[in-house]
């Protein structure tokens, strides 16, 4: 049974698209056929992060409107098998997404894929509501600072009240906390919320902690999901998160400040 997973946050700039790209790629690397759907209509970014911006012909809105079929709009990733991207339209706005239209496209995707990753836009308006409406699971992307945590809390409330599962009294959406841009040194100095602080406030299971890393920016700029950078701490942290998403129990890494010294010299970095 195909699973629809929304990557959402409420707040912008916390790493939803980076995480969608990394998680979608990670699931495909594990052999699951996966599609990443960009719900950020009008602010198309996923294609850039995935490095397929020059191959976009038709988009999500074309498919909803019946101007193209899914096979025409889906872009196959060149690096990873079983990985596809359904890009957003750059020329339209969020109102182009209708509940029925989105439902129909997702139903069709479910027939061909194991995982459907919905990359949500920021905010709590139509785009974000559409991205989370049909979700079975939600990855709530949060930065360790108070405004991001509060917005994530708001999104959790919406997942509980305005999703398809909530409206039909089905089992609730399974929630995961993904803490991104985590900076152990700044946490130690008290400049950032700690993992425990965020966990206590949001009270949902922790899926992963992604350290703040230059490799994330490099990956975005080069259009290569950071999870493919197996040397980087962020790439490894995303790989751990994938294992947990698939039901494994794995210790969390990169939670404490790195001790500069012999280890650094040996392992580089």
């Amino acid at each position: 049974m195909a699973k629809i997973i929304v990557v959402t946050s409420g707040k912008g700039g916390v790493g939803k698209t980076t995480s969608s790209a990394a998680i979608g790629t990670g699931l495909a690397l594990k052999g699951h056929s996966t599609v990443i759907v960009d719900f950020d209509i009008g602010l198309r970014n996923l294609d850039l992060v995935m490095g397929c911006e020059r191959r976009v012909v038709y988009d999500f809105v074309n498919v909803i409107n019946g101007e193209a079929n899914l096979n025409q709009a889906l872009i196959k990733d060149k690096r990873v098998n079983n990985l596809y991207i359904l890009p957003a339209s750059q020329t339209r706005d969020k109102d182009a997404l209708t509940r029925d239209g989105v439902g129909k496209v997702l139903e069709e995707l479910k027939e061909n894929f194991d995982y459907i990753i919905c990359d949500s836009p920021a905010g709590i308006e139509t785009g974000a509501l559409m991205a989370l409406y049909y979700a079975d699971e939600a990855i709530v992307t949060t930065n360790p600072e108070v405004s991001s945590v509060r917005d994530s809390d708001r999104i959790l409330g919406i997942l509980h009240s305005k999703s398809n599962r909530a409206e039909r009294n089905m089992d609730p959406i399974k929630e995961h906390l993904l803490l991104t841009r985590y900076h152990p040194e700044r946490v130690a100095k008290g400049e950032m919320l700690s993992v425990d602080d965020v966990k206590e406030i949001l009270a949902i299971p922790l899926l992963g902690v992604i350290p703040e890393s230059q490799s994330v920016l490099n990956a975005s700029n080069s259009g290569c999901p950071v999870i493919l950078d197996e040397e980087s701490d962020a790439g490894m942290a995303y790989s751990d998160a994938i294992e947990r998403l698939l039901g494994e129990t794995i210790d969390f890494r990169f939670l404490t400040a790195e001790k500069k010294g012999i280890f650094k010299r040996i392992f580089g970095g």
Partner: protein, 230 residues
């Protein structure tokens, strides 16, 4: 300790009321003697109140007092009296009583307050299993509100009765929304943005830091919000 001289206490005594329907002292006298003949000892020195509703405003009270004493009755007060009779009473040691409802005579059914029969049914508390998230609002109309989880910052819980939060209270809690001053807020971890009882409110700034993040009870005391540790 000073010697006790007097003490004021409320108490109830049974008094017989003589309702007088005739202005004629002769007729009153003969009726009284007939009544008393049946149980002479029972009425000996019995305190009596004369109900003057049916007699003339000018009915001579002095002669009635004399008549009663002839029968060994003690007239202690009058009711339904005219102004003239009242002024006589005040100068002659008689009490002027305002008659309450006299039980017999009236054939009305005893009044049952409408609430007694269909008294407001017990309103079950509203319960929220889990957390109330930022931006959510929960209102318990005419009853108490129980939250088994936490109330997030930016969330609002409102009840006409009490509010119980079994997790952390980080948002707003408004108890006694219909101005019930006896409403209370109880939480396991006090970090509220705002707490309000019956329209009186306190912001987080004003919450005693000793109680911050502690289990606490919030109630109204003399119109002021009082927070105490649980």
């Amino acid at each position: 300790m000073p010697l006790r001289i007097i003490e004021l206490k409320g108490s109830l005594f049974t008094l017989s009321v003589v309702k007088i329907y005739s202005d004629s002292l002769e007729l009153i006298s003969s009726s009284l003697s007939k009544k008393l003949a049946s149980a002479p000892n029972f009425f000996a020195n019995a305190p009596m109140v004369a109900d003057l509703e049916k007699v003339d405003d000018t009915f001579p009270l002095s002669e009635l007092v004399a008549l009663f004493s002839e029968f060994n009755l003690v007239l202690v007060g009058i009711t339904h009296a005219s102004e003239q009779q009242k002024s006589y009473a005040s100068t002659h040691g008689l009490a002027v009583l305002n008659a309450g409802k006299t039980a017999p005579e009236s054939t009305e059914k005893p009044e049952i307050p409408p609430d007694a029969t269909n008294a407001p049914a017990f309103v079950a508390s509203k319960i929220v299993r889990g957390n109330v998230r930022s931006g959510q609002q929960v209102y318990a109309a005419d009853t108490d509100l129980i939250i088994t989880g936490s109330v997030s910052a930016g969330a609002e819980v409102i009840a006409d009765g009490d509010i119980h939060v079994h997790g952390a209270l980080r948002g707003r809690a408004i108890a006694g929304a219909k101005l019930n001053p006896h409403a209370r807020i109880i939480c396991q971890n006090m970090q509220a943005e705002l707490i309000s009882i019956a329209g009186n409110y306190l912001l987080s700034d004003s919450i005693n830091s000793d109680l911050w993040q502690q289990a606490a009870l919030v109630e109204l005391n003399d119109g002021k919000i009082l927070i105490s540790a649980l």
